[in-house]
């Protein structure tokens, strides 16, 4: 393990650094917090000593294996220490450390610090060094997806997401991975698995939007309002309404389908989604009854009528009157917590001149 650096001192953990041979030539630098301090921390002796040696090596930018080992110990206790990450990155580069081992170390500490921003950014930097995104343009998606580096990262992010299914950092990192290397093919399957496990997992719903509207070829669309193919819009309406049937009081599919259509296929809101929702609401089943008690169903109707009024000016008065009535129903019956919002929303419903 000593070659990789990280565990060199593990046998000495109980021996103060000042008594270790490795550190005998270094004079630690004490913290200078001044006489008047704010939010001082009751440091343990071990932490105080460790930081003294860290200051000593960092202040002269010592490039050594012992410095690298020390940064490992500091980061485990204090992963938010922003300059230690910079220092570690420099040490790994200049010592020519094995990047695979470095990635293993990051994976190991990820379990404890999976919500730390720096750690995920560092992982991104390491993976970019292992497999230069600029160097893969000749490779096909089929080749890339079985490349050991990418396979491992897909596996790592799947595991992180499976153990914490709404981990913001893990999903963000997975987006970076998929987009940077252009490996999109597995994503819809992965997202389906996650949505099937928990239909309320909004991170998975968002990833669905990213995969479908991010162009699927590694070139996320720049134009936020670009139209989508009609057949795709139809199949997404089917998918979202199927999920709504499973759990009508789940905000995610409602927001997903309305948001998607408003942006990319607004006419589908009233030509396809509206009849479908009316049909579901009228079919007398248990979910139909449940659906009509959720704020999401009624709120979707407001958005749909508003869009329809915008597109069909000759029917605008009627449609806006319907939207306005729905706002009243929301304020009094289905979303009383937001009653003032619905009154405000109602006032916003004016004909588009």
């Amino acid at each position: 393990m000593c070659e990789t650096g990280e565990k060199c001192d593990s046998g000495n953990d109980n021996v103060p650094m000042s008594e270790q041979d490795t550190w005998k030539d270094v004079a630690p630098i004490s913290q200078d917090d001044g006489a008047n301090t704010i939010c001082p921390i009751a440091y343990t002796d071990e932490y105080r000593e460790m930081m003294g040696y860290l200051r000593a090596v960092m202040s002269k930018c010592e490039v050594s294996q012992r410095a690298l080992d020390l940064t490992s110990r500091v980061i485990v206790v204090n992963p938010g220490h922003y300059t230690v990450w910079v220092y570690r990155k420099k040490l790994v580069e200049e010592l020519g450390s094995n990047i695979e081992n470095e990635l293993d170390w990051v994976t190991e500490i990820s379990e404890k610090h999976h919500k730390n921003y720096q750690l995920w950014h560092y992982r991104e930097a390491l993976v970019s060094r292992l497999l230069d995104p600029k160097a893969v343009s000749e490779m096909t998606e089929e080749q890339l997806v079985v490349h050991p580096v990418i396979r491992r990262e897909l596996f790592f992010t799947s595991s992180a997401i499976e153990s914490d299914s709404k981990n913001f950092h893990a999903w963000s990192y997975r987006q970076w991975l998929v987009r940077t290397y252009g490996v999109w093919e597995q994503e819809l399957g992965f997202i389906d698995t996650m949505i099937n496990e928990d239909v309320r997992n909004n991170s998975a719903w968002n990833q669905r939007y990213f995969v479908l509207m991010g162009d699927g070829r590694g070139r996320p669309t720049k134009d936020a309002g670009s139209p989508m193919e009609g057949s795709l819009a139809d199949s997404e309406i089917d998918y979202a309404t199927d999920m709504i049937k499973l759990a009508p009081n789940n905000e995610s599919p409602w927001t997903y389908i309305v948001g998607l259509l408003v942006r990319h296929a607004p006419a589908k809101l009233y030509t396809v989604l509206l009849p479908k929702l009316k049909e579901l609401a009228a079919d007398g089943s248990e979910y139909a009854a449940a659906m009509k008690t959720t704020p999401f169903y009624w709120s979707a109707l407001v958005d749909i009528y508003e869009q329809q009024a915008k597109d069909l000016p000759d029917q605008a008065d009627d449609l806006l009157a319907q939207a306005s009535e729905v706002c009243d129903v929301l304020a009094t019956d289905h979303d009383p917590m937001r009653n003032k919002y619905w009154e405000f929303r109602k006032d916003q419903l004016v004909p588009n001149i």
Partner: protein, 359 residues
């Protein structure tokens, strides 16, 4: 309904945190400046800064904050500003600029803390701070917190905008580029994200909306009505940070303040927010993330300020854009009016894109 917040206990909690944190707070050693700002903002939100801290103690705190200002060396122009704590001992012992670096989050917190403590910022090296900002903005428009990192997102955009607003100097920020980045972070669901295509998030909502508000550019939002809707739908008694997540005390500020800035004052159920925050109150002072968990300075401060939004007649008004008392913020923001902001950028180009976005 009258406030039921245990003000005295929270004052004591913030004072304890300012005086000493337990050993497990070592994880926050590099962001003590942020903790200080939070505790002071919590006291300010309760209107208790002067009552809780003697004039002598306030002067001491001002000295500690100034001691964290990075002095110039031959190579550290991008590292200037304030550091997050006294991590590195005396500045002169650190020959290596990257080891003794400021960052925009600490600089923002230092400036706010100084203002809350009554300092006039006379000893702030303004040109050094603005110079560092200029070096930390990326081509995409977003900001890195400090040099030599791949980290960058709206948190640091917000810090850069807040610093510029406080110092009344926007020459370190390309406001057009910031605006373009934020517009690209407007999600299809109306929320705002850390980067394009990521999941909408209450914390990034705050950073983006506050940045636009400080630049006087809220009109650049492509669909403001949908963004307001996303924000008010985060209320589930308390506020959640993302869809289908449990309510969390800190979002009473992040989302609550965003609703205020978006013109939604009075549109949410303030009684429900305050009831939730009271459930998060610790019997020993402080407010926790969730009911029944341990309080921390972040959730305590943001919970208190979020609570104060619910009772505007009983607590000092806090400026939603800056986490500063309105009395201080309005002085700053009025002194450097938004007109000056737009005149620093190449305004005409943005006006064009504004029009096409809203059509």
């Amino acid at each position: 309904m009258a406030s039921k917040l245990a003000v005295d206990k929270h004052v004591r909690y913030f004072r304890y945190c300012l005086d000493m944190l337990p050993s497990d707070a070592a994880a926050f050693d590099a962001i003590r400046m942020t903790l200080a700002h939070l505790c002071l903002a919590g006291l300010a939100g309760l209107g208790q800064v002067e009552a809780a801290l003697s004039a002598a103690r306030r002067r001491e705190m001002v000295e500690w904050i100034y001691a964290q200002q990075i002095p110039p060396t031959a190579t550290n122009a991008a590292h200037r500003g304030f550091r997050g704590g006294s991590l590195f001992g005396p500045h002169e012992l650190c020959a290596h600029a990257a080891a003794n670096s400021g960052n925009v989050a600490a600089t923002y917190s230092a400036l706010c803390s100084l203002l809350i403590l009554g300092d006039d910022l006379a000893r702030v090296d303004r040109s050094a701070i603005i110079g560092a900002l200029r070096r930390l903005q990326l081509d995409s428009g977003t900001f890195a917190p400090h040099p030599d990192t791949t980290e960058s997102d709206p948190r640091f955009i917000f810090c850069a905008c807040a610093i510029s607003a406080i110092l009344g100097d926007w020459s370190g920020v390309d406001t057009d580029a910031v605006t373009r980045y934020i517009v690209a972070c407007c999600s299809f669901d109306g929320g705002l994200t850390q980067a394009p295509f990521q999941e909408s998030h209450g914390g990034h909502l705050y950073c983006c909306i506050a940045s636009l508000a400080l630049m006087g550019r809220l009109d650049a939002l492509p669909d403001r009505s949908r963004t307001l809707r996303w924000a008010v739908f985060r209320q589930n008694d308390g506020y959640q940070g993302r869809m289908n997540k449990a309510p969390d005390a800190c979002y009473s500020f992040w989302v609550g303040a965003s609703v205020e800035m978006l013109g939604g004052h009075g549109l949410v159920d303030a009684d429900a927010v305050s009831r939730f925050l009271l459930q998060c109150e610790s019997p020993y002072g402080g407010i926790a993330k969730y009911p029944g968990t341990k309080p921390d300075p972040l959730h305590a401060a943001l919970g208190v300020v979020g609570y104060a939004f619910c009772y505007p007649d009983e607590f000092p008004r806090m400026a939603p854009e800056l986490l500063l008392p309105e009395s201080i913020a309005s002085r700053l923001l009025h002194a450097h009016h938004a007109d000056e902001v737009s005149s620093t950028g190449t305004g005409s180009e943005l006006d064009e894109s504004d029009k096409s976005d809203s059509n």
